[in-house]
Chain length 336, copies 2
């Protein structure tokens, strides 16, 4: 175990959000009650505000993607807990445009409920709302049929493409349709060698032996459906890619590859994984048209990684490469 | 323990570097034998090439800072091991300008020796070389007097300010003097609650009890001079700040504050720490003129953080804020 560097008696999500706003005060503005953040610099051309949010502990998601080319407002919940509907409502009110707002929602029951209540309240105020539900996580494809697949790292892809499209002045239904298409064209799978530690207790969420691997782990420290004996890395990547390809809808062979660290995974590991994944894909299966490698949607400090593939169609490569001016999304040039 | 996601029998630094170059191919170019990386886009105005390097395991340092406004070439060693002098020599040859090269060297015996041999060889070829030695780590201020203070997170500050100054066309001695001044105006202190895990064995470098804190830890998993019982976070920050202020040379009250994660530390923790540090400083001691919060100089996946303060003088705030176009350094706007 290893106790976190947080203040006793204070919600770590609050202190972290306050420090984030202070460090990036040129880009984001904080409202404390209810807690939400807005981007200072928002494209004039937008007819629709793009709003997201969800439990904390997955930083830089979502607040790191506030700014020109991506999100207009974010409602952060406590660690691994949905934001209150009042946060989502006020965040949306603050950034709604002429055509209304789009809510980017990861598929968890709490998020669905709270974004849903907020949407009802917004509609009562005469603000149009559409929801884009992100549900890329293959590990939950059948295990929990009531909720469906959970939303994980593909959220970054959805937020990037939607933000760039919103900057072109697209309308509400057009953006909602694009978001749904991007989510449908994306699938993810994650594995972990060590659970995350609780910020409160310093204890691991679960224990794994040195040769064990949680295969199909979520981003909240849920155990996977299966604990497997760890195969060599090349075999593991082959198996993960096979599973993702089996689940990806058919479509273009132009892929966006996202190798995402779950928190305690080094950049050396992530880039090494990316190198092997890209080599495998380019060997015949597909073309790596775009990529992103780093810790973008972690589960606190979990040691593991997720692979996300998105089939890129139409103008999506250009939307991906369009400039984003946020605290955490790479520059156009750093994307590759 | 938790075994790393690396390939058996391959140096993780090599696979990681290859994947890094593949992911950022628009910005960096890889040479494999000997191993080094160069920036593709280098300011025409530069009269001096800026070269750095050192052991791997501290990513994004140094390769993440390759590009316009920062480094021209980087020689990565194996994990926690100095690069070979041939890597430094070839990297320097590839990017030397009319006035020569500056070597940014963290103060470790191996790095000093290998950069030194490379510098001799470059001089034999008629290429002028100056060395900027970074030695900010207070934990080693007296413990190891033969080597002196080690170089840690202040390296990012030195590389950023030097790079911006080089883009203005400054000469070799001017840059070497600036680098020495920045290093002299910077001090760091680091603590850890959990050691890093070996990429090879998955074992922790050392074991700590749940209430223990390594106070004054290095970035290679050296144990600190002292293991202390962990104080509440506010007390810890006060103590660290007192120690850093006691060691900082006198000078302007305009500070650059760098809160650096050592690998396994969440962004929530780092931003919460920054919020508290900034509030303490602004309460009377100094002015937070610039800041950087994130995992920039880790020790693999160590759970801990370092604080670096740099007294900013002259045009350093403008050099800090000048645009850098690299894989990992934030945009000007994201700096605050």
């Amino acid at each position: 175990m290893s106790r976190a560097f947080v203040f006793d008696g204070e919600d770590p999500a609050l202190g972290g959000t306050r420090g984030f706003a202070r460090a990036h005060r040129g880009l984001v503005e904080l409202t404390e009650d209810p807690l939400f953040l807005t981007a200072r610099d928002r494209s004039e051309a937008r007819r629709v505000g793009i709003v997201s949010g969800g439990g904390s502990g997955h930083e830089p998601l979502h607040a790191g993607f506030l700014g020109r080319g991506m999100l207009d407002a974010v409602a952060p919940g406590r660690v691994f807990a949905s934001p209150h509907n009042r946060q989502v409502y006020e965040a949306s009110k603050a950034v709604a445009r002429t055509d209304g707002v789009v809510h980017v929602v990861k598929n968890y029951t709490g998020d669905r409920i709270n974004f849903g209540i907020a949407a009802e309240r917004l509609r009562n105020d005469g603000i149009e709302v559409r929801r884009v539900l992100v549900d890329d996580d293959l590990a939950t494809d059948s295990a929990d049929t009531a909720t469906g697949r959970r939303g994980t790292a593909a959220t970054v892809v959805v937020e990037k493409l939607l933000g760039a499209a919103a900057d072109q002045g697209r309308g509400l239904d057009e953006l909602a349709a694009l978001g749904a298409e991007v989510a449908a064209a994306s699938r993810s799978l994650a594995v972990a060698a060590r659970a995350q530690t609780s910020l409160q207790t310093g204890l691991y969420a679960f224990d794994l032996g040195p040769d064990d691997l949680e295969y199909g782990v979520g981003i909240h420290g849920e155990r996977a459906a299966r604990t497997v004996r760890r195969p060599p890395l090349g075999e593991l990547l082959d198996r993960m890619l096979d599973r993702i390809f089996a689940a990806l809808p058919t479509g273009p062979d132009d892929l966006l590859v996202l190798v995402n660290g779950l928190g305690g995974t080094t950049r050396l590991e992530l880039y090494g994984i990316f190198d092997a994944v890209a080599a495998r894909l380019e060997a015949g299966r597909a073309h790596v048209t775009a990529s992103l490698v780093g810790t973008y949607v972690p589960a606190l400090d979990m040691h593991g990684f997720s692979l996300t593939l998105t089939r890129l169609r139409d103008d999506w490569p250009e939307l991906w490469a369009a400039p984003a001016l946020t605290p955490a999304f790479p520059t156009k040039e750093a994307l590759g």
